[in-house]
Each structure stands twice: as structure tokens, then as C-alpha cells.
Amino acid sequence: MAAGRGVAAEACVGQVVLPGDVLLLPTQPDEDGERLRLGASAAPRGRLLCGPGLRRCAAGLLVTKCGLLRHRQAGGGAAAGGAYWVDSQQKRYVPVKGDHVIGIVTAKAGDVFKLDVGGSEQASLSYLAFEGATKRNRPNVQVVGDIIYGQFLVANKDMEPEMVCIDSSGRSSGMGLIGQDGFLFKVSLGLIRKLLAPKCEIIQELSQLYPFELVLGMNGRIWVKAKTVQQTLIIVNILEACEYMTAEQRKQALAKLSGN
């Protein structure tokens, strides 16, 4: 077999990994021993999150996408356990449960809207899945290409994806129909993740320019609205171009704009 032995996962963090690589987790045998001794201990010391691009296999983790291996240390109040994932780049979106996406309404079939999400199938959205919607009080969604921001309730390879515009407690929390005007465009998925990172310089620098509103969908779609058409187009152009610009080039471009 060409697979050979696996490599320790910790050694590969930040390096390029290819599909078929096996990553070993060094602490596995120790965990088994400790479990026998400690019995039913609730401390999830070894709990590991195996993120996108990785799969569980007998030895450890199997890489399924090519990209850079990322690692987040265990610790922190909310999240327990470290996480490994592969930071890969792609343009095509695959629906994932829990992702917030922007969908375009294409058809209405009975009580269900069909949304184009950029995946292989159209997602369905029930008209009761909006905040405050009842059978008599229908949401004001028209079929002619309305834009909706929602999250996936069901998304796997065997079923048609389903979306909802309310969260688990019944509130809309910003989801639903996105208003009039504005500009919708598509970028790659890696850029969206970069923009949604906790401290994103691009967004911080843009927010200094002029007031605007931004909706980022995990399916690669961005909707921008500013006061004038020109400002909107400027923001669109910056967001599209900043994927391939270095930080200095971006600052130069923004300096020109703020000067003008």
C-alpha cells in the first residue's frame, strides 16, 4: 500500500496536506489506558473536533481535501477540546447543516419556496419558517428573485436541503427576507471565511469609509447596500479584489478612496 505510516498530526499544522494522508494523534493509546483506570470520568480531555476536510479512520485522521492543516488548542470556556481542520479553497458550495446562507427564491411549490443556494439541489423553505408566520399571516415573499438569509435545518447528501429563517428559540435573529436595493455578488468560499474571522482587517478598514450594510452567506454570496450606487459599487469592487491583494495594496487602495 502506498499509504504507508501516518504522520503525527501536530507536526503538520500549517503545512500542506493532500487527500490520503493519515494523521496520527499521539495521545490515543494513553487515553485508552486512562479510561480504564479512571472509569466514568467526565473530563473530555481527549475530545477532538474533526473539522471539514478530515475524516476519522482506524489509525487517526484521514485527510480528504488538499489544503493547509489548521489546529486550535483545547481550552476556552465555551469550546471544549482542540480542533483540527483543513483550510481549503473552493468556489462550489456544499450545503452543511447550521450554515447561514443567502438564497434566491426561484419558485413557489404549494406551501414551500424553492431557493437557489448554489449547491447541487435547490433548497426548500416552508413559509411557516419565518418569525411570526401563521397560516393566515404569510410572509411577504414574492417569487421574482427575492433574497433570503436563512440557515440550513437539514443538509446531507441523501436528502434535499431544507432551510429555515428562525433559530431554535423561534426568533428570527436577523434572518429572513433581505430588503430592497443593494447588490448581490459571488466570491469564493475561502474569502467569506476570511471576512468572517473574528478580527478581520478588511472589514474593519471598510467600516471606516462610509456607512453600509453587509450580509455574508457561507455559500459565497455577499449582499452589500450603501447610500449611493457609487459607494455600493466601490465596496463590491474592493471585496472582490481583496482576495488577491496584499495588505499594503489594500491599504493603498483604501487611502486613495478616502482621499477622494
Partner: protein
């Protein structure tokens, strides 16, 4: 009328017979329970928990105030520790003002419950106080008038 009752009884009998049949034929697994390996690796296909991504709707410089409030709410869910520290935020009224107001408040409400004799005493005191301050006020006014 009575037939419906009979039918229900026969239905019950039929159900009981069916249940007996089912319990005899009920299949059960002969295999021993497979020891589930306590897999502590959780597979996850979404990027959200890995990278702690922010909420997708954003608004800047007051373009959409509702969304700006939402941004604070959503992003504070991730960082709840910071909020606990900032519980002692600026109060609407400062402590000193509160003390001043409270002082005068106690006096005015206290007057309400005084007896008549005590109220007269208070009035005399006020008048004396006013008469004392009046010449000084007039003196002050005279002092302020020339503005060359």
C-alpha cells in the same frame, strides 16, 4: 346503538390477540452488544465551530441600527466572559448627584410628617435665613452691576 358497543368489545379482543401474537414473534438480537469504542473524535462538516466565525449580517456607521444591535448581541454570545466584567457600566446618574438629590429628598419628605409646631419653627428659621442673605445678595448685585 348496542352494536357499536359490541364492535368496540370485539375490537379490544382482536387487539389483545394481536398483541399476544406480536410478542411471541417479536424478534430480538441474539448478538452481544458491540462494545462501542468511546470515540472522542467528533466529526464536523461546518466551519463555524472551528474558526469561531462571526455572524453574517453586519452594519456599519449606523446604516441599520437594528442590525447593529443584533451584531452586539450575537458577538457577545461568543464572548460572554467580557460582558460579565463590564457589568458595572456607566450609570445614568452619577453617585454624587444621587447623594445630593437624596439629601434634599429626605428633607422635603421629612417636612411632610412634622407636626404643626415644628413646621412653624421651620418657617421662622427660613425667614431668618432669608433676611440674613438678602443684604448680602443686594450687596452682591450691586457688585455685579458695573461691567465696564
Amino acid at each position: 346503538f348496542m352494536q357499536r358497543g359490541l364492535d368496540s368489545q370485539t375490537k379490544k379482543q382482536l387487539e389483545e390477540e394481536e398483541k399476544k401474537i406480536i410478542s411471541e414473534e417479536h424478534w430480538y438480537l441474539d448478538l452481544p452488544d458491540l462494545k462501542e469504542k468511546e470515540s472522542f473524535i467528533i466529526e464536523e462538516r461546518s466551519f463555524m465551530p472551528c474558526e469561531d466565525l462571526l455572524y453574517g449580517r453586519m452594519s456599519f456607521k449606523g446604516f441599520n441600527p437594528e442590525i447593529e444591535k443584533l451584531m452586539i448581541q450575537m458577538n457577545s454570545r461568543c464572548k460572554e466572559e467580557e460582558i460579565e466584567v463590564d457589568d458595572k457600566m456607566e450609570a445614568d446618574v452619577s453617585d454624587e448627584e444621587m447623594a445630593r438629590r437624596y439629601e434634599t429628598l429626605v428633607g422635603t419628605i421629612g417636612k411632610k410628617f412634622l407636626r404643626k409646631r415644628d413646621q412653624r419653627v421651620l418657617q421662622d428659621e427660613d425667614e431668618d435665613g432669608n433676611s440674613n442673605t438678602r443684604p448680602s445678595k443686594k450687596a452682591k448685585k450691586k457688585f455685579l452691576k458695573p461691567q465696564d
